[in-house]
């Protein structure tokens, strides 16, 4: 955190000043470790084992915050007897389909819900990264559940959890992670001792956590701990993601993602969502509790914002105009399609995949096989110059004179040359004022896309093709200003906030959204950012003039709420759990919820409220159901549906690992997304032979002095001089084993590429004792490329492409490689070296990576919900 988010780290230091104990878990000793009270070196890719160990520690010693767990989580909920755990199936859950490498979730359900089958085709859900939808809400379950408040029922979530994690003993944690038992126990003790009624503990992760083939389950495990300890929805608690880009939160809220529409509305699927109603119901889930009950209004209002007057209730608000998904259209699938010549044109908008994405070679080969490429950036980045300056030029894989890709480089406007909002990592929108005009041809994306749309519409004017209607009917009349005709960002923000179609009055919040076409809302969760016609995101009331929650600085979605689910900061009766930790509470005199923050609850719904039978939507939520976006108003320790790789997290080895999974026969995530393609050969891992060809674990991350792919730091003298070269950090022990000298050269070889780096031999890295073996890890920063003031090989070239099944994010934080002293070969000799390694490791082009590595697969297949399945929901 000190390494990649130094300014955020000031708050950790504040906490430390006040006596907080800081633990840091990282494969390498970083600037954060230097300031932490305890540092735990861990083998990359084993966090679930560590966190699972903590879960076990909590349950075995009954250290959970019982009152909280009983009232606010599904710990007491009883699960169907069809469910079989990894404990029974050697690392698989019931319902596994070894042909499709996916689960039928029918056997995971709550007791009595077996027959609800919204979307059991998890193979399809994986293709469409359905998991991402849950960024703002849980998957559906019916309101009422069977519970055992004593937590003794063998199939209640609490007992299932206990059994599932029973294997994660301190000794097992040590075997898997390489963390000594005492260290682990110190962590578990401190975490539990500092949670409960009087104290809270916070879990902070950097989004490297998401870059694993089990990334979502990493975060699930953290959430389970924080829920068991009562650290959710309370000040000083939570699971905090340190996101690495100024508006990466915003770019999923208002997504530029293939499977999402603004506000986490799903992109329609050709088979599941033929009609508007079916699409809306798939979001709304009739009969479900919680705020998604109104999704019809959000959906209708979005389409109204898109197609304006053309969108009417009669024509389903032009629902028909929306393109349909048929499967995986993610960025990595796209790249492989590029290599196969299926993609004509490619836009890169402030993005540098040649350096920043996994398997840089595949990225560049893909770009070299396009008809045209548009790059919009501040600087000349590697992705714009692959045709003249890339490793493939040196190896002869790309020949400039034979590369047909037509490249447009359009200079972009910087953050001070345009106005607009960023959404930072805690969902806070902050408006930026424009300071100066952009120089020369530099333009904002707002300008580019507005005018691109204008030109397209002009060119299509008069077209009779049905396909062009969507463009021609588009509501695309934004006011512009200035000599360059810059569109008004405030006008766009107003549309995002939503307004009354008749009067143009900006909405005060999403409750005002209507499903009859009388309102247009660009992104329902952002509704309220322009309440009362005031740009709430531009508020800059000094921290000195308001309390510590600072509600009048910027605007946080939803409804300017700073801590989600903050109803949980009060006990079921609505009283603060403790005076020290009071945040939001029920005021019986006023008959309303009050506190420091905007209550994440209906303002006047008393704690005593109990829903009438059959109530759904918000009425369905009881006065003590704090998790208002969840189908049952409870925090889920066990996910009966929605998480594609299991209702509970399980430790699986990374896709590339030198270690056989000590926990189960199932080596790696059985549902991970694998692409079998000649360019994408994965290094062998046990139980496959030859894994010793790539004996070392490598992991990559950021340096304080640089930013992601380096496009905004290697080009900036002030930063370039601070970290002027690519280096690899190795432990003294590995340096000795391989024969590396400080400041000398080393090269790293994977099944895809070879890169070279200067060597830093440092005591900050340590070998680990894993399952009786000594495992060496090396670390590199991934900022370097061939352009800019300081250059170096691209570390991400080493990675292959394997994705998390829930969100299709690649595993690019851990891989295996060999480390050799000296500089790498150049030209064709480099390809020969890789080929030699592929030969030694048996990585033949036709080799298929074994997904299932346990005999229990067939049994798991039997254990489906009555074996019944529906093929693809061609309803």
């Amino acid at each position: 955190m000190a390494e990649a988010h130094p300014v955020g780290f000031q708050w950790v230091m504040e906490a430390k000043k006040r006596g907080a104990k800081v633990f840091h878990v990282d494969p390498r000793f970083t600037r954060t470790s230097a300031l932490a009270d305890t540092y735990l070196p861990i083998r990359a890719g084993t966090d679930i084992a560590l966190l699972g160990g903590v879960v076990r520690y909590i349950l075995e010693n009954e250290l959970d915050f019982r009152e909280y767990v009983l009232a606010y989580t599904n710990a007491a909920t009883i699960i169907t007897d069809q469910f079989a755990d990894t404990e029974d199936l050697d690392g698989l859950f019931s319902g596994y389909d070894p042909e499709r490498y996916s689960y039928d979730q029918g056997s995971w359900k709550y007791q009595g819900h077996e027959q609800q089958r919204e979307s059991e085709d998890t193979a399809k859900e994986r293709e469409t990264a359905a998991g991402l939808r849950h960024e703002s809400h849980g998957m559906p379950v019916a309101a009422t559940t069977q519970r055992d408040e004593t937590l003794q029922h063998p199939r209640c979530v609490y007992q299932i959890l206990k059994r599932h994690f029973s294997r994660y003993t301190p000794e097992m944690v040590s075997r898997i992670c390489g963390i000594p038992v005492e260290k682990f126990e110190e962590l578990a003790r401190a975490w539990t001792e500092n949670s409960g009624r009087e104290r809270t503990g916070a879990l902070v992760y950097s989004v490297g956590w998401t870059q694993h083939s089990v990334g979502v389950q990493y975060i699930r495990t953290g959430a389970i701990i924080q829920t068991l300890l009562g650290n959710m929805g309370r000040p000083g608690g939570g699971v905090l993601a340190l996101r690495g880009h100024a508006s990466i939160q915003g770019s999923t809220d208002i997504p530029t993602l293939f499977n999402l529409l603004p506000g986490y509305l799903p992109m329609p699927h050709h088979a599941d969502h033929p009609t508007f109603d079916e699409w809306v119901d798939s979001i709304r889930h009739p009969g479900q509790k919680g705020f998604w009950g109104n999704s019809r209004a959000y959906a209708a209002s979005l389409l109204k914002a898109y197609w304006g007057d053309a969108a009417t209730p009669e024509n389903d608000f032009c629902y028909g105009y929306l393109p349909r998904m048929t499967g995986d259209h993610g960025t990595y699938q796209q790249v492989l399609n590029m290599i196969n010549g299926k993609v004509k044109g490619y836009f890169l908008l402030g993005q540098n995949p040649a350096v920043g994405s996994a398997h840089g070679r595949a990225q560049r080969l893909g770009m070299a096989n396009l008809d045209w490429l548009v790059v919009r950036d501040l600087f000349m980045i590697e992705s714009a110059t692959f045709w003249r300056n890339s490793p493939e030029i040196a190896t002869g894989e790309i020949v400039t004179e034979e590369c047909r890709t037509e490249v447009f480089f359009l200079p972009a406007a910087s953050h001070v040359e345009k106005e607009g909002t960023f959404t930072q990592t805690q969902r806070l929108l902050q408006w930026r004022e424009k300071a100066v005009d952009p120089p020369g041809d530099c333009r904002s994306e707002l300008w580019f896309f507005y005018h691109l749309g204008r030109v397209l519409r002009e060119k299509l004017a008069g077209s009779t093709k049905p396909r062009d209607r969507a463009l021609l009917d588009l509501a695309w009349d934004y006011p512009t200003h200035g000599p360059e005709a810059e569109p008004s960002a405030e006008a766009v923000l107003k549309e995002i906030n939503g307004y009354e179609v008749a009067t143009g009055r900006p909405l005060g919040g999403f409750p005002e959204a209507k499903d009859d076409g009388s309102t247009a809302v660009g992104c329902w969760i952002y509704s309220g950012v322009y309440a009362d016609g005031v740009n709430q995101a531009a508020r800059r009331k000094s921290r000195h003039e308001q309390d510590w929650v600072a509600p009048e600085w910027g605007w946080a979605w939803p409804a300017n709420r700073r801590i989600l689910y903050n109803r949980a900061s009060a006990d079921p009766e609505g009283r603060p759990w403790s005076e020290r930790k009071k945040y939001v509470w029920w005021d019986p005199d006023k008959g309303a919820w009050t506190g420091y923050d905007v209550p994440d609850f209906e303002k006047t719904k008393p704690p005593s409220y109990r829903p009438p039978d059959g109530a759904s939507g918000t009425e369905g939520l009881a006065g003590d159901d704090p998790f208002v976006m969840q189908g049952d108003g409870k925090a889920w320790l066990y996910a009966p549906t929605g998480v594609l790789d299991g209702p509970l997290p399980t430790h699986y080895e990374p896709a590339e690992s030198p270690v056989r999974n000590p926990l189960y026969g199932q080596q790696a995530n059985p549902t991970r997304k694998v692409y079998t393609h000649p360019v994408n050969r994965m290094n062998p891992s046990p139980p496959e032979p030859h894994s010793q060809v790539f004996p070392y674990v490598f992991t990559v991350s950021r340096l304080t002095e640089h930013h992601t792919a380096g496009g905004m730091s290697r080009t900036v003298p002030r930063l370039a001089e601070l970290q002027p070269a690519l280096f690899v950090e190795v432990s003294p022990e590995l340096a000795g084993e391989v024969g590396l000298a400080h400041l000398g050269w080393a090269h790293l070889v994977s099944g895809r590429a070879v890169i070279e780096a200067r060597v830093l031999v440092t005591d900050r890295l340590t070998p680990l004792r894993v399952d009786g073996r000594t495992i060496h890890q090396v670390w590199l920063p991934y900022h370097f490329g061939s352009e800019g003031l300081v250059t170096g090989d691209t570390v991400n070239d080493l990675f292959g492409i394997t994705l998390d099944p829930n969100v299709l994010i690649q595993e690019s934080k851990v891989g295996t490689c060999d480390v050799r002293p000296g500089r790498r070969p150049t030209g064709p000799a480099l390809l020969d070296l890789v080929a030699d390694y592929q030969r030694r490791a048996g990585m033949t082009p036709d080799r298929r990576v074994p997904i299932v590595t346990t005999g229990a697969a067939s049994e798991a297949h039997e254990r489906t919900a009555g074996g019944a399945r529906d093929g693809g929901g061609d309803a």
Binding site: I254, P255, V416, A435, L460
Partner: protein
């Protein structure tokens, strides 16, 4: 300047007559030093901005003189950053004024070996033509069972997470309307 003022401006004279006989302070101060002020005080305008690097969202104040950014520093009012910045944030002025910053459209024709210049409007027009061509070439109306698809898989986009919400909104809106489905983002990476 008269001889008198010249003499009185002479530090030695000030040493002999003033409170700084050793000539180590007041007497040695130059006219420039005496007149020195922080350029932030004389700026034409100040913009309240936000750091473009990571997602902590540190407040920035952007000072402008004569249409040039003269200083970018932390905004002390911000409850997030309290006026502080990391090295990247502190280098923001260097970022926007970097000598490597590209300000002209560059064009590489197929099989070309060098960059060429291109007019921005021409570029925009050429890109529009190529979009329509790619769209026509790869358009899918319906799937094999006649269910609507309304899309092209011939166009891809990978958008940065350093773009504004307003920009992402327009990008998604336009691409969706043109049937381009393969719109992706750093958030997937």
């Amino acid at each position: 300047m008269g001889l008198k003022t010249f003499i009185q401006g002479w530090p030695v004279y000030r040493q002999l007559t003033g409170a700084d006989p050793l000539g180590r302070g007041a007497a040695a101060q130059s006219a420039r030093s005496a007149a020195l002020t922080a350029r932030t005080e004389t700026a034409d305008s100040v913009a309240r901005s936000v750091c473009p690097y990571c997602a902590v969202g540190c407040g920035q104040r952007v000072y402008v003189s004569d249409g040039q950014v003269t200083q970018i520093e932390g905004d002390p009012d911000s409850p997030i950053s309290r006026g502080r910045l990391c090295p990247k944030g502190a280098a923001s002025k260097n970022l926007v004024t970097s000598p490597l910053r590209q300000t002209k459209v560059r064009y590489r024709r197929p099989y070309g070996t060098e960059w060429e210049d291109l007019d921005l409007d021409v570029a925009l027009d050429m890109i529009a033509d190529r979009i329509l061509a790619a769209r026509d070439e790869t358009w899918e109306d319906v799937d094999d069972q006649g269910r609507p698809l309304n899309r092209t898989l011939g166009i891809s986009s990978l958008g940065g997470a350093t773009l504004d919400n307003e920009e992402n909104y327009l990008i998604k809106k336009l691409f969706t309307a043109m049937g381009a489905l393969q719109i992706e983002n750093q958030a997937r990476i």
